[in-house]
């Protein structure tokens, strides 16, 4: 099946993004070993409250319906409520991702009182043992406490957001049961080798057999489980999963980082995918509409080495970020190509040619020792 006319049009870009992620800060109380943005320490160039509000004014004028706020831990910012309340007042709904550390009973009530607000609590294991290896000691209990506080405050259906790893694939039913027990919605997303995840991807990413398990599980659960459209590379296994089945980077999706740099998607925080900065002349609008990078991403992309593969229409060659940070060519197979077409390539990429993230806000004392093992 070839892509629908609508998808073809979406690939050539929109006047404004559908799905915009805004990492409010690189500061974080946790040091997850797969952190996409290598967060830990605040960047001194972080956008001020006034600058953040000016960006929101611009997004409102562009009719961006909602934004996905993340970090770092966004609730670390003292002006967190100021920013999200301003956003909602401008007609921009907010969905934010948090590890839950700052959702005490009082904050849970304040969040419950807001309209047009969605909350995603990150959890990467259905038990503390599995979760805390990735997210740090005590982080499972912290997340559960936040969920309890939201439930007690009557927040309604918050989301539990899981990055699927080799270690937690077998817990998908348990995650679903946990979400159901709170009346929450489960969201599972793909592990990307971005940020600190570039160093841990080889140990954490699901095996090829597990990818089939994920596909089967998602097929069985349909639209009841959210995925952020992140598993379209699995569509080569059979009938398409729900979603647009396309890479949205620079086309319908982008990322604003804490200092205002605009990247093609949340998984490619690297100079090569930086389109500009919201503080540049013309602001975000000009970056979105006129940057060379985004215009280029909206051109038809070459299938390259995948052109002769019968599954290309289904998998679209997979994820650009996953290829980039594993050192694979962008016009070739995804490192997790379900047909195994990337296996030999991956094994032959010299470590020296694998791109390193351009920036790193990790706390210095705790740079994962895993790095030394490569």
């Amino acid at each position: 099946m070839s892509a629908s006319p609508l998808v073809e049009q979406l690939k050539s870009g929109l006047d404004a993004p559908i799905c915009l992620t805004w990492e409010l800060t690189y500061a974080c109380n946790l040091e997850c070993i797969h952190c996409l943005s290598s967060s830990g320490r605040r960047d001194p160039r972080e956008l001020s409250t006034e600058q953040a509000k000016a960006v929101l004014d611009e997004l409102a004028a562009l009719q961006v319906f909602y934004i996905n706020i993340g970090g770092g831990e966004p609730m670390v910012r003292r002006d967190f409520f100021d920013i999200i309340e301003y956003s909602v007042s401008k007609g921009i709904g907010v969905k934010f991702s948090t590890n839950g550390a700052y959702i005490d009973t009082e904050k849970a009530k304040r969040l419950t009182d807001m309209d047009y607000l969605d909350i995603q609590i990150s959890l990467d294991g259905a038990d503390a043992a599995t979760n805390d290896v990735v997210r740090g000691a005590g982080s499972y209990d912290t997340a559960r406490r936040a969920m309890d506080n939201l439930a007690s405050a009557g927040f309604g259906p918050f989301k539990i957001s899981v990055v699927v790893t080799r270690q937690n694939v077998s817990q998908l039913d348990a995650f679903k049961a946990l979400a159901d027990s709170y009346g929450a919605q489960l969201r599972i997303t793909r592990l990307r080798p971005a940020g600190r995840g570039a160093d841990t991807w080889h140990q954490l990413h699901p095996t090829n057999a597990q990818q089939r398990d994920i596909y089967n599980w998602l097929s069985a659960h349909g639209e009841n489980v959210l995925t952020g459209d992140s598993f379209f590379h699995l569509n080569a296994l059979g009938p398409a999963l729900p979603g647009l089945n396309m890479c949205g980077a620079g086309r319908v999706v982008c990322l604003i980082d804490p200092i205002g740099d605009v990247y093609a998607c949340p998984f490619v925080i690297h100079d090569e995918f930086k389109a500009g900065n919201v503080l540049d002349a013309g602001g975000f609008t000009r970056v979105w509409r006129e940057s060379d990078l985004f215009i280029d991403l909206r051109e038809p992309q070459s299938a390259g080495a995948c052109a002769s593969c019968g599954a290309y229409d289904e998998c679209q060659g997979g994820c650009m970020a996953a290829k980039f940070f594993t050192g694979l060519p962008l016009d070739g197979p995804d490192p997790e190509c379900v047909g195994g077409d990337a296996d030999a390539l991956l094994a032959s990429v010299p470590v020296s040619l694998v791109p390193r993230p351009s920036q790193d806000h990790s706390k210095p004392a705790r740079v994962p020792s895993i790095v030394a093992g490569h």
Partner: protein, 88 residues
């Protein structure tokens, strides 16, 4: 499919419409649903629903040829299902 030509309709008050090259995006702030309107004609019709007493009047006002009415009626029906449009 429901017969809607003689029905009075309106865009749901919690819905925002954003014109795009392919037509428009419609976003429902309550159910968080994002829906694609696949032509500018469809956008024109949807935007004008509340100013006319029936769907048929809105179609006429937007210069939609009668042979296309059925496909518009069917598209509007699905917009009602996703609560982008409602009966008034």
């Amino acid at each position: 499919m429901r017969r809607l030509l003689s029905t009075a309709l309106e865009v749901h008050p919690q819905v925002a419409l954003r014109p795009e090259p392919f037509g428009a995006l419609a976003y429902h702030y309550d159910n968080r649903r994002l829906v694609f309107l696949r032509s500018r004609d469809m956008l024109n019709v949807v935007e004008s629903l509340s100013t006319y007493s029936t769907l048929e009047d809105a179609l006429v006002a937007s210069d939609i040829e009668p042979q296309r009415w059925q496909s518009f009626e069917s598209a509007i029906d699905s917009l009602i299902s996703s609560e982008i449009v409602r009966v008034r």
